[in-house]
Amino acid sequence: MQTALNVLEAEPVRLLISFGAILFLVLNLAGILTMAERKTAAYIQLRFGPNRVGPRGLLQPAADVVKLFTKENVSPGRSDLWVFLAAPIAMFIPAALVWLVIPFSPNAVVADLNVAILFFVGITSISALGVVMAGYGSRSTFSLLGALRGAAQMISYEVPLILSLLGVVMLTGSLSLVDVVRAQGGGFWHWYFLPQLPMFITFYIAGLAEVKRVPFDLPEGESEIVGGYMVEYSGMTWALIQASEFASMGLMSAINVTLFLGGWQPPFEFLDLGTFNWFWFGLKTALLMFTFQWIRWSLPRLRMDQLMDLGWKVLVPITLIWLFVTAGAMLIFQEVF
């Protein structure tokens, strides 16, 4: 028995199992979030939402998957087929990959990288490439417009996103996400969202923009450019784009929780569940994901110039100022840190 467990913990096997588990988690998360999205939308609009398949409509994602698998993949005749088909994969893999460095509970992290935050920043910027590939490969006007908007938006919002992480890195003195979570132990007043409140809000807004959610869904632009870069996709390719969008939404929430809301740390010390602290991580992530959906069904879309103004003229100065404030505070109250 002991030897079998040792084999499972040995390196190549452990990594493969972890990959499988992460893929399972991400794909299921995408399915569940689709369902949650539709239910939240319906409830906010005083409707019931999907309630026919299974008890209270809970099997709807399964029905959707079956439908999408059996659907034909249509591609435009003039499309650049290789780029067109590679784009959903290029969007999905970064979204799934970053989950590898997120600590779910004290001992449950696939790869405890000492540069995990850098890894997150690097990998998430790849998903902009997927958007551009989708727009270029479809060879359709709306797709290209959406892709260009997406590229502009995602690259602009990388800047406040990265800057807002630096405060936490300075306070922790480490780029490892596990270290960041450990540093926030002992009650919710130790979490970084209090000393880093402007950074937390900036990260949240930049995260919204980075995963192209309302009110920053210009690349999709349902009402103007009918779906943007994913106009031409259908069937499983489209499903993969959707899955990657929901996965990256979950990812943004998870990273936000890890960095600012104490990861798997319980809100009060007496609520410590030991190995089962992933419950706190899941609860906080779910709450953040709900706020993403809540915002989506409440707020209208920003204009392109408003989007750029918010990014460059508001968020970047705020993060820069707060970096100075953090640095100054660390210099003055050296004995505390």
Binding site: T40, Y43, I44, Q45, L46, R47, F48, N51, W294, I295, W297, S298, L299
Partner: protein, 169 residues
Amino acid sequence: MPQVGQGIVKGMGITLKHLFQNKITRAYPEYKRDLPERSRGLLTVDMDRCIACLQCMRICPDHCISIEQTKRDADGSGKAKPYAVGFVIDDARCMYCSLCVEVCPVNCIYHTEEFEVQAYNRLELARQFGERPVDPTIDPKPAAKKKKKPTGEKAPRSVERPRTGDEAA
């Protein structure tokens, strides 16, 4: 400056309130609303009262009623009267205008409260009421015929000059 974000807070407050409110959707097949008093559902015929006067068939703008008429002594009075052996109402054509109901002298054709019909084939929507089925695909030719008035100008012109493709367009 104090107004920044007020709209966002207000809007999101409303959506949050709606999240917990009672839903206004009526789950249709389980919950059915009472129909209005004079709602027009599917047509039906009381064949015992029908006197085969063919008025409904004639007035129907969609030609959805076909009647096969014979003479028969149905009520035992010794006289052979018109009798509808076949009576078909094609729901695929009916537009629920209610003209047949208004014109019927004995009130034997009327609307029911049924309104849900479905079929895999258009012909399955034709409902037979008589002893003999009537072919619903044959367009019933009403007996009353109006003489077409000659429209005058158009006919001679086409004789003068054959139409070209450009003119038609």
